[in-house]
């Protein structure tokens, strides 16, 4: 079986679910004939036709609002926003309607929509194409925020998100779209939502991360292993709702915790994880919780973006600092 990339796994999941469920509809800008600017939806138009694979006019609030209307009548829309920086016009629809349709109608209407968008820096894209503002969505009651970091998890988590009856913000790390290939059987098997994935078992320190930063975290852990430091790596995967139990169990074992994310530090999801670990697991800790994050700046344009993204070295330095604490 051929190995596929993360973006090909997204495509494979979409095609599988469209075949299995006639209610699944995909819509967005340039997603039909062009197959999406990253080719995530390539081939779907030919397979499923223009009724279910829709190029929309160029208006993001519209994409979200249409999806809410469609979902209210039992369709399963999977809407693509071309880049995370362009999802902001849709915040009104997502926050004021998608997240609360079930609540405000006492379950009479619901909003089973997947809002997909590539996110993160590191692909030499224009301004506004490199955002990591997942914390905005993680703050909104009623939403799920799901972030895959490998082809297999992209496939399984996207299937789970489409089958989920509530709205999901599905953030695809564009830096990982074509990074690593993996065999992903097209078996239609979903992975669990609301669960962390332990990517590597270790004894000395817990590294908590998600999305594209999984790449640097794995590499850093590899180098640290040569120095005899055993890292446990947790891919949070669903950052809302948060599976704090898996993180706490790991911290109980290792006694140390570093949270690594590309997003700006202040009020990032790392702050929430740190708070919950402190609230529930202070007694496990042998050293202060640390964060390795993007700076509290605008994500810079292409020339500085590599400097903005937390590096393997920053992770290693922080791990060494924490290991020295006690």
């Amino acid at each position: 079986m051929a190995e596929i990339t993360l973006v090909e796994a997204i495509n494979q999941a979409l095609a599988f679910e469209m075949q299995a469920d006639p209610n699944v509809v995909v819509l967005g800008e340039d997603i039909a004939k062009n197959g999406g600017v990253f080719r995530a939806t390539v081939g779907l138009l030919d397979k499923f036709g223009p009724e279910r694979v829709r190029d929309t006019p160029l208006a993001e609030s519209m994409i979200a609002g249409l999806s809410i209307g469609m979902a209210s009548q039992g369709l399963k829309p999977v809407a693509e926003f071309q880049f995370m920086g362009f999802i902001y016009p849709a915040l009104d629809q997502i926050i004021n309607h998608a997240s609360r349709m079930r609540h405000r109608t006492r379950g009479r209407l619901s909003c089973g929509v997947v809002f997909r968008t590539p996110f993160g820096a590191g692909i030499h894209a224009p301004e506004h194409h490199s955002e990591s503002t997942e914390a905005i969505f993680a703050h909104i009651p009623g939403l799920r925020v799901v972030v895959p970091s490998s082809p297999a998890r992209a496939y399984g988590l996207l299937l789970a998100s489409i089958r989920n009856p509530d709205p999901v913000i599905f953030l695809e790390p564009s830096r990982l779209y074509r990074w690593a290939k993996q065999v992903v059987p097209n078996d239609g098997k979903a992975l669990p939502l609301d669960k962390c994935f332990t990517l590597q078992v270790g004894m000395d320190i817990t590294l908590v991360t998600w999305g594209a930063m999984v790449k640097e975290t794995l590499a850093a852990a590899n180098r640290l292993a040569k120095d005899g430091i055993s890292c446990e790596i947790i891919d949070v995967a669903t950052i809302k709702p948060l599976d704090i139990e898996t993180i706490l169990a790991s911290v109980e074992k290792t006694g140390r915790c570093i949270i690594i994310h590309e997003a700006a530090r202040t009020c990032g999801v790392g702050a929430e994880i740190a708070a919950q670990v402190a609230e529930r697991g202070l007694m496990f800790l042998q050293a202060p919780i640390q964060r390795v994050t993007g700076y509290d700046t605008i994500v810079p344009y292409a020339r500085l973006e590599k400097i903005y993204i937390p590096s393997e070295n920053q992770i290693i330095e922080t791990v060494n600092k924490v290991m020295e604490f006690a």
Binding site: M62, G69, D92, N96, R102, H103, R106, R108, P165
Partner: protein, 359 residues
Amino acid sequence: MKIVAHFEIPYYQIVNEEGKITSDVPEFAKDPDHLIRLYRVMILNRLFDLKAIALTRTGKLGTYPSARGQEAVFAGMGDAIEKEDIFVPYYRDVGTLIQRGVKLKEILLYWGGDERGNAFECGGKDFPYSVPIGTQMLHAAGIATAFRIRGEKRAVLVTCGDGGTSQGDFYEAMNVAGVWKLPVVFVICNNQWAISVPRSQQTASQTLAQKAIAAGFSGEQVDGNDVIAVRERIFLALKNAREKNEPTLLEIVSYRHADHTTADDASRYEPKNQRELEWKNEPIARLYTYMTNLGMWSKEKDQALNEECAALVEQSVQDYASIPSVSPEVMFDYLYAVLPEAYKEQRDMLIKRGESAHG
């Protein structure tokens, strides 16, 4: 130079403010029972509004937006729409909702601060009120898209106010409805005021109806104080939507004979005497005069109808008062289909605190 596009905006009226016929009377309006049905909804709406406003004064209801002066708009819409169509309201649409099967007590429950009022015992997939202005236009377009995808001959009817037409969502919805040929009817309930901002400050456009032209379909104005015209134009627009996938924009022109809501005081901005000047156009007296002139209505019948409707409103207030208090944990119970593990502790904490709902 040559002219590459031109357009016209028609204005429809069938019965004028003197109760006189100004254009052909549609078939439905030749049936006295049908006219009385429309008239009854308007009376019920007006009496309900008065009662709701009174309830806010005694603290038994929260903020409430009255439809006084706009009863013909909502009565006409509810009469024109088919059961299998979908209605997407803004927030002043009592007269339409009751014709869709929503109970008066549910409307009171909603404005009393309880989401159970949106649960609609009658079921169905009509939308609840939309508070963020203009956002609902897109939901209507999405519902119409679902009908097209499934090949269903159904239409969607959606309302907004004159202020709502300044929102991007309003134009985005019309734009996609034009491109995709969606079976949706957009209705602007132009009552001349967006809270305190008059229609003239909302847009320099001569009419609101002409905003449809840029989206590639037709727009029209309708005399919103003439329930016969409103019902007929919406009926025909819905028929076109269902049968030909043609969207339409209707600007229904009336006047808000009330504060924006009970939290507003229009005397701060509304010119003195304007309401009195507009009152000669109000829709209930117009239909009363028309029907009385034709001999199908009388003062006695009117009194009996008013008494019947007042009793219904009174009953709805009693039904509302007897609805059991809401349990606090419902805050969590409809957040997701199944409450995620992460929030169960908060729900348990809430129950343990043992607090109960206000009002």
